[in-house]
Subunit: 363 residues, 2 copies
Amino acid sequence: MSTSTGQRQRPLPGRPVASRRVTIREVAELAAVSIGTVSNVLNNPSIVASATRDRVLAAIGSTGFVRSTAAHQLRGGRSRSIGVVILDVSNPFFTEMVRGAEHALRDDGYVLVLCSTDESVARERHYLGLLEEHRVEGILVTPAERDLSHVSALASRGIPTVLLDRAAPGPSLCSVTVDDVRGGELAAAHLLVDGRKRVALVNGPQSIRQCADRRRGARRAARQLGLDPDRAIVEISVPALTDEHGELAARRVLDTTAGVDAVMCANDLLALGMLRGLAGLGVSVPEEMAVVGYDDVAFAAMLSPALTSVRQPKFELGVAGAELLLEESRDPRHVHREVRFEPELVVRASSTAAKVPKIRRSR
Amino acid sequence: MSTSTGQRQRPLPGRPVASRRVTIREVAELAAVSIGTVSNVLNNPSIVASATRDRVLAAIGSTGFVRSTAAHQLRGGRSRSIGVVILDVSNPFFTEMVRGAEHALRDDGYVLVLCSTDESVARERHYLGLLEEHRVEGILVTPAERDLSHVSALASRGIPTVLLDRAAPGPSLCSVTVDDVRGGELAAAHLLVDGRKRVALVNGPQSIRQCADRRRGARRAARQLGLDPDRAIVEISVPALTDEHGELAARRVLDTTAGVDAVMCANDLLALGMLRGLAGLGVSVPEEMAVVGYDDVAFAAMLSPALTSVRQPKFELGVAGAELLLEESRDPRHVHREVRFEPELVVRASSTAAKVPKIRRSR
DNA sequence: TCCCCGAAATGAATCGTTTAAACTTCTGCG
DNA sequence: CGCAGAAGTTTAAACGATTCATTTCGGGGA
């Protein structure tokens, strides 16, 4: 006869030698208590006699037991994870938002499941599906496509969902956005108020919402200063927001309508290229030409001349998104809404030493 | 009497209205088959009669059923997730690695659980604990502290673990690294071979492994060219690898030992500051002074003069880490090893227009 | 001596899925 | 006509933790 005091299981011969995971049952056996008591030590320590509790804790320590989130979740707990779907992990705009979200969630024991779609709709669908299978408690998403029906579908299936940097089409979704019109307005107003006569707006395709909005803002600024937008703002369109296109645009800025003494770029990469292009053409910044960018990426401040730029509260966007998610999943009376942030103009050398000494408002 | 054909459950009054999750059982009822058959449709479609299969698929579609990873995992499946623990989400070095890891894993249906520790040991411990509870199938980690005992402990508890950008102390862990000594050697050799006489090495504290290694490499390069390292390499130590310190170091480069005609910086931020500082002091780059950086961050190529820099294969690091993880979790005969990458020198304008026209090798 | 009470611990049901084994039809063949 | 085997489907036992109704035990009061 064999000793049948306990089931000692040795790793199956075929399996990798990876030590079988310790379960709560083994802890219970070792501590000579029931499974329920071990669970109580874990979740409700106060109702366990202290001697027992110590014995169980010792058993947990010596076995290296770690509780399984899956089992916990299955029994009705929550998954303690939040999905984050962005266009590109290596884009600082998104990673700053991720940092914000993580900051807001980490103290509550959440973990972030990060997915980058690289703007592929198929990938977005794939990841949203996986996140739903994982039963994440909420999803922060920067949608890859215009059509949001599958995102709304998620939300309607009960998964708290927040759009990042994109307004919701209806009241069925929360969203966190930055006012790009206002950003464009800030940049243009700064230049025009500062005495610049004519601003070249180096902009990407109007099909990109951000580009269209920033343009509207620039024109609004002109109008508010009593200027004719068509005269004060000269648009120069480039196919992509890269430094190369910025550099190429420098020549066009000088060649088009005369009298341009300021350039407003749709992002910092364009502005960086523009600075390079202008330097190559012997144009001095900011004396002969003021330059402002958009995004305030890390290196904007490091350039010489340091680049004036419009800063977006990226970290705060992430925090706000996370908080909306938590609210939606905890508060039954939650109503969907849009949280809108204001961008901020960071003035630096590339636009400040105005050629006209005194600020002149309006005409 | 009530109709007892099926249990229709309406949301509990206290609960949020979030529609109860659809389970496989409800799908089975709707399609009038057993639970097992639904499961077969999901996992083993070929053994199900096609009429039945269609009926089940229709039921899945109309109920919006999504399978629960938690239950799947509990039943013995895998969690289909990989943990990634890095120092900082907003640092492009890490995000490029994350991109690589995601690229290598996404086709296998994995999802990345991303954690940034901000170099806090407590946070690292916290996250490693959570990842273990989530039963991730592997962990990629850039450790925050010198002591790796808790990381090794993870590995010994059967969780495949790979160190990123850090060599393992023993054979108990896999690791993926870049040869920083070689990187320092590449940079210094480039300058010295190109005719530069004396290189200032603007370096961070030796306590940072990368800094120490790059220094060793630079000195090795001098030695291999038959030069005396103490004469050919002049070290200038700065407290932190920032652009401000780079700018400040420019003056020190000119003030210290005469004859310095090249600067090698421990990273690109320092180099950027150095370029600014030199410009401010009226020193022309590369004619009077060559400058090389390290990391080849995105904007290095965009500067003027474009910055020569040492590129690390960040994306490939991530890919390799992920592949090691997969190998470790699938192949029982896996043995831990270090995968070491070679950095690559990217030569650009900041170091090329040598003041000595012809390349002279050795002394 | 008996009863009751509270504190502590137990045991069983449960969550949603997978899977091996069992069962039911049905077909074809001797 | 009987039966083997295939094809299709069902059944039931896991997986690991939580929860709650129940049991056990020791002590205090009558």
